[in-house]
Symmetry: C4
Subunit: 287 residues, 4 copies
């Protein structure tokens, strides 16, 4: 999401030089400040929404029966329009590779692929719902800085707790493997635990407290072990929640400390600090 | 809920001027301080409880068989009484539109509508349970300031975290759409994933760890993706909990006053402190 | 649990005066310091465990078939022994009513009742597992002060958050009533939502993310509303967890501040305070 | 996991003296610094992964049918190799008993046992997945200090909250026993509650919000009690999460150093502070 970029010039790529139509179309496609740019944004958002809606409705049997042909034509119309748009984006940018490798560049390409893949593999056109990701552009278009900041805080908190959460996921996977094998040995194929992979799937279903009930223990020993697994899974909910809450609280505390020392430029002070903790100069806390 | 309004004059509307019966009835209906006002409150609460109970019991087949006529008469009696009360409330208030647009004005109207709608659409009388919302008046009647304060803190915490939670809900919905489409393509209608909307319903059931088990994956690839979806949903529980806990902790800390010591500039003192807890200077608590 | 009472004299009742056997038996039954007292404790704990185990095993059909008579005799033997013990406790105490109204007095009586009730209502003997509550005595017997302190902190945290949690439970119940009635109207008896009480049971099952799957929505509108209910329930998990975490963190912070001012005897200071926040005297933080 | 031991000499056992081949092989097996040591590590990790994979695949009926013999041979080859490795580890260490009683010594032995047990009890070879625990060695091999530190913080937080969590588990078990017996009496064997142990299993399934749905209440009283059980279980999620979050936050706060300012006695400074953040005096960070 690359921070809070609200206008065209903050993008890592600018208008292509040379032909004037390129610079003009760059401002229409990538800009959100003048009338044509805003009009393009509105058309784009409506087209994305309509395209996702068509894909979803196409999958409903009752509608597919009557309107299969209409949906087919609409899907290809949207795909054609988005393909033209993608080519145009590459054409008007001065650094096409940079755009193609950016987050939105990848999403734009990914949301075209399922349509072309459906020529080879029937059914893959339903993956066109990935176009929903293009909607994320709306944060930039509407200049919703507040939301960008909030999601930035959430993402940075997740990033800071990634080591703790990775250790945690490894522990979960090891537990799932061992509990899965134990249940496979105890219950066996006759009670639905047909293989260790199936048992591991069941262990994940149980430890995450989802509990579909498609596979359930029937022996006394199996029910006893299941009780232990559930209590372990239940206690384990505490771990990621605790990690995240503690990291977020720390992140929110840090957000309050922007006062910068005029002498050594150190800008990491706590909310109630009056003197720079690095050089001892008086902090200007009037701002 | 508008803070802690315990007596009649804090309401945004007062008694209607002119005819003296209006002022008198205003104090009976909206006041909680004298004997007639309290008597009216008790009768109202009992009537609301009885009305909700009648609606609930009417829906039980075993009781509906024998007492359908009794329930029907009772429901219309309560509706008539509440309709008269609503008209009376409008009549005795000096600013009827303000009352009608207030929280309790809307609830009072909403709890009448299902009865009249049931003349057009059979079955809608069961929505009369919405009258339960009128019970919220009890906090004001019993002057339960403590509870009003507590719910105020909860509501303001929710309000402060609304940006973070909105970003979070958008992320969930995008994930639900993409996971739903993937499972529809992988499992297909023969395993219960009959359309993308159904798949999305299943994805919500799974990510919230509810797991009804009415639709379950049967292919190996589907079970693998389901494991990923469950672990993602499980990890995601951490996010709103962490947001809320961190915001609530911050809200509780803010409840401390911020009297600043004139000598050492320490400004973290508790509400009843008279001396700086760090340097011992007298605090200026006049502000 | 009444704090940390580790020896006999901290009990709210003492040995009965008069006959010396009473004082002697009081020390055996209520004391944990000398050899006879400890022997009585061990016998009591073993008897409680054995009694609960007999009740649980008696309910297993495979065992009930062969050993029904043995279990029956054993249950009545334990009941007789515990009845004698209860009478003895009353006889040797100087304030019998106080004992009978204390927490353990009520539990001791409650764990006798199901046996005598089973003479009137077959099956109620299985409620004898309530004897497990008598095991709580073990904390006092083993002088597990640490555990008493910990449970004291947990209980006091729960007590302090009771207002917030009561407001929260009221909100949940109102939501359950309204969602239950809506689902009853939308889905109707033909899909398992046979009455509003059943719908409310289903709403609780869904909002708590248990999701048995015995009743599930079948209409599109029902599945849409269910998705909303689940997301609401899912978000709501945040509320009690956040309340409890914030209160517990506050409770743990408070536990660190014991320094008492030598001048005004104020003993509520924060961990890093050097001067009394009430009278300004220097705090003695050497302890 | 014993902290951050990254090189051979931090192990609680060293190379065996005497024959030079022992010292040489000790560095190959236990060391991770030179080429032969790293080569051994890579071979070991690959062998463990392959061995676990063979065990899991062997349990899939479709594969077991065609490749049972291959899997059988492979499993015994891996077992033979790991047995030789285990004997070698004992031979080259100067304190064999210490190695055998260390965490990895126990895991190394445990991951051999199921293979030999399968000669006596058919099916126990599937427990070979316990070899996955040997993978934990990877943290030491890759010198992933960060992860070791993170898991150390998580483990120490869990250790510090163990008293609170033990009290909590006792409370849960008592509730499960009492709720289980009540549901057995209310619903009875005809609705699936065939015995108190089964009812207790159901109570754990319900209170942990797993909700398989294999056993569900059918009477009105049973559904009412179930609603209470679910709301209790739901509220109880708050407890371990709150405990863990509060302890983790405290643990992260403690990570700050406690250098005390000689002038204003402020002792909350961050690890790299050189001046008091409150009065500006130079901090004595020599301690």
């Amino acid at each position: 999401m690359s921070g809070a970029s609200h206008s065209t010039e903050e993008l890592p790529y600018g208008p292509a030089e040379g032909a004037p139509w390129r610079s003009r179309w760059f401002h229409i496609i990538f800009g959100h400040d003048d009338a044509p740019g805003r009009a393009f944004d509105v058309v784009l958002i409506v087209a994305i929404l309509a395209s996702v809606l068509v894909t979803i409705l196409d999958s409903v049997p009752a509608l597919h029966g009557g309107y299969a042909r209409t949906f087919y034509v609409l899907e290809w119309l949207f795909t054609a329009a988005f393909s033209v748009e993608y080519v145009l984006r590459i054409a008007v940018v001065n650094r096409p590779v940079r755009y193609m490798r950016s987050f939105f560049g990848c999403v734009d390409l990914l949301s075209l692929l399922p349509a072309y893949l459906s020529l080879l593999f029937a059914g893959s056109q339903y993956l066109l719902v990935i176009r929903a990701l293009r909607m994320l552009r709306i944060f930039r278009i509407l200049k919703l800085n507040r939301y960008v900041d909030e999601s930035h805080l959430l993402v940075s908190t997740l990033a800071r707790s990634r080591h703790k959460i990775l250790v945690f996921v490894c522990a979960i996977l090891t537990l799932v493997m061992i509990f899965g094998a134990l249940m496979y040995v105890i219950e066996g194929p006759e009670h639905g635990f047909t293989s260790i992979p199936t048992s591991m799937y069941w262990a994940v279903v149980t430890m995450t407290t989802v509990g579909f009930g498609d596979i359930t223990p029937h022996t006394v020993l199996g029910q006893l072990l299941t009780s232990v697994i559930m209590l372990v899974g239940y206690s384990i909910i505490a771990v990621p929640t605790g990690i995240f809450a503690a990291e977020l609280a720390a992140g929110m505390r840090e957000a309050r400390t922007h006062a910068r020392c005029g002498v050594c430029h150190c800008d990491e002070h706590e909310a109630d600090a009056r003197f720079c903790r690095r050089c001892g100069a008086v902090l200007d806390t009037s701002v």
